[in-house]
Symmetry: C2
Subunit: 122 residues, 2 copies
């Protein structure tokens, strides 16, 4: 098997609750995706949006706490940019789950001859 078990790696992994919660909100994910095109200031982000500037600031704070974006003071304004390293934990978590799920799924399929199992072939 090419995927390794997660017995030791998954518990040691940082719980990505904050990352998931940060990306769960539509507006926040929209802001995050806007930053994918390059760093922007708060007013710039707020200007193209139906919400107020403080709301954008609050959203950016959540994203920053989750480690998804970084703020760089630039004069009186702050330049927000996506932090690629902040995305790594989420990817690691997803990889771990992915491997487990594939393993469980393979085991499930392998046990399909067992009458106590009923899988839905897709």
């Amino acid at each position: 098997m090419t995927y390794e078990t997660n017995l030791a790696t998954d518990q040691s992994a940082l719980p990505p609750s904050q990352v998931f919660a940060a990306l769960a909100d539509d507006t926040r994910r929209d802001i995050f995706e806007t930053l994918r095109n390059g760093p922007k200031t708060v007013t710039t982000i707020a200007s193209g949006r139906p919400i107020s500037r403080p709301a954008v600031s609050q959203h950016l704070k959540v994203l920053a706490d989750a480690g998804l974006v970084t703020a760089t003071p630039k004069g009186t304004s702050r330049l927000y940019a996506v932090d690629p390293q902040g995305l790594a934990p989420l990817r690691a978590y997803l990889d771990s789950v992915w491997g487990d799920v594939l393993g469980a799924f393979a085991a499930e399929v392998a046990n399909q001859t067992n009458p106590s199992n009923q899988e839905d072939p897709t």
Copy 2:
């Protein structure tokens, strides 16, 4: 990484809001991770948890709506299991963002000659 799967890496632009929201809650992610060890019934999941059984049912409904788990009727009980395909959109989205971020970050580094570049693509 070598998880070549015949599971379609669906590049559908479906917004993964539901997936993120489903995995944002701690209890829900805990339930989801419990199912990684194999399919379980509602009462089984609820028995090892400080919340009531209806609460677990509601969480499972959210996970099912997000396409993360599937329910298989089995007598009077329902066997819940992780749906591997439900995870694909999230992975696709993450891959997309990852590429964009690396590109934008590289451009930023090229512009500012920032030495803090530490990319770790597998």
